[in-house]
Amino acid sequence: MSARDEILGRIRAARPEGRVAVPREYRTVHAADTDLVGLLVDRLVDYRATVRRCGTDEVAATVAELLAGVPRLAVPPGVPEEWLAAYSGTVVRDGTPRPLTVADLDAPGLAVLTGCAVAVAQTGTLLLDAGPDQGRRLLSLVPDHHLCVVHTGQVVAGVPQALARLADPTRPLTLVSGPSATSDIELNRVEGVHGPRRLDVIVVDR
């Protein structure tokens, strides 16, 4: 008998009888008057991300300010040109003319700019779902500095609302909560291991 058939047969013999009802009395909606954006900013700062809030017409200037001294910037295919208008360094766009390689992205002095799909206020989490302004997973992973633009309309209260917003859960998903960190030394959180050690977040009011 194949391992598959044997295991499934053993489970059929061993499993409990009957159906189990799942009570879902936890919160999936939150009061409309909560200052979600303020909460998100508070959580991000707590993780030691750098946070800026600005209006829609100030994104380019804020991007340029946060990237002062950064000579090269990688962007996924769908990052809008207007975010880049005030940045004076070199912009390399994934896929134009060719996909960026790991070596391209590992070059010193390179940062990456992406958008996000949705942000969770209570946990300070940015969800990337490989949408056009987020691109392939390695873009936000290999560079040491990740700059992420969040629109206030993308901010939800909790994890349930965030997962419900995803267009397609089978796309590669990455949940980012602060810069790379470890709790492995005496169980204290220390920032900076393998992922980007600097995370900047621009929250755009609209």
Partner: protein, 483 residues
Amino acid sequence: MSGTGNIVARLPFPTAARNELADAQLRANLRRATHTIRDKRQRVVAEVSDWEALRVAGAAIKDDVLARLPELLEQFEAAATAAGATVHWARDSAEACAVVTELVRATGSTEVVKVKSMATQEIGLNEALARAGIAAVETDLAELIVQLADDTPSHILVPAIHYNRGQIRDIFARRMPGVDLAALTDEPAALAEAARRHLRAKFLSAKVAISGANFAVAETGTLAVVESEGNGRMCLTLPETLISVVGIEKIVPTFRDLEVFLQLLPRSSTGERMNPYTSLWTGVTPGDGPRTVHIVLVDNGRTDTLADSVGRQALRCIRCSACLNVCPVYERVGGHAYGSVYPGPIGAILSPQLTGAGANRTLPYASTLCGACFDACPVRINIPEVLVHLRQSGVDAERRRPSAERTAMRAMSWVMRDRRRYAAALRAARRGSAPLRLAAGRRGVVRRLPWPLSAWTASRDAPLPPQRTFREWWAARERDNTP
């Protein structure tokens, strides 16, 4: 078929515990680390007003999974296969190791990068790969420390919890090839930097990665890995081939169910609102990540555990380690005494059920039944209830030879003899679970600490009044049972 691998203790718990107790540095390190994490967990759990409702939902989802496991596994297999993954099945650790070794061989690689995974530790995969001439490089910081030190893990979340920063510095200085000694201090940031430099080239050039998975979604065929450092993302994204070893109980029915576990797990494990990185992937995505994706579904004693109507709740476990961190026994003896990759309260109920017998038979005695583990458990596993159940079946099975039990009990008394230290540990454990009680109180639900001693008395002569403290109960037991 019983489970095999790194879950079978070589020494009975009392013997192993005596060895570990002699190490004062170990006890100091454990005490410091577990108290840090207890306080953090308590803070982040207290800010979630619906924590109790999340626990109830988490437990029910997992119970539902156990009741529908064959259908859900088939659904998972079909969805993952449709998304481009190849699904394999393994009855036990030897079969799982053979499957993975063959898959790595087929790629031609002699080195693989690994994301920390309990399943691969359980089946002894690194040792099996080494026998086949394949080097497995652990990339999680704590796993790396343990691997460099040629040691074994002592905690399911932080395998190097028994080392303090000074000891970690010394291990890196002696064992990490090419480490920059001038920059290497015992500052956690400097240690993290050394690990980053050490592993970077390996990440960027690795052709094969091996991971576990925290969750496997039946509906979509999606796997999830919850991590902190970004080593997981590196392994899951950059290599050409990804092999994930997944226990059959890791299934959740729907993508939506993750909304419960992604709230319960980070707060319970590292005491954070959310861990830095969580990756979810479904089969192969052209142009993004590995081109070849394998999933190995492992039984290794899980179906035996499923057959026990009381013990099967251990299969709800999401490996958060909260029960270890609040356990007064774990705090004193550390993880190695349990002789399994699953130490602490969950190990005391999981290892003996996965493996059947042997030295693991003493593990259900590695507890004071104080109940702190149940209060901390995000999926409401009633660990004391299972412990009592396993002790009882052990006693019944060995009625002619009660000496193993008595030896275990006597050793436990030795572990817990120092009244002052034990009382302090117990107080701390109770403090650690206080927010849960408060949360329950606010919602008007009166829930008492479970004291499952009625089950205990079923195979005993002496009744055990539930209001007695452990020490009182213990002292009475000692008197009654002295041979």
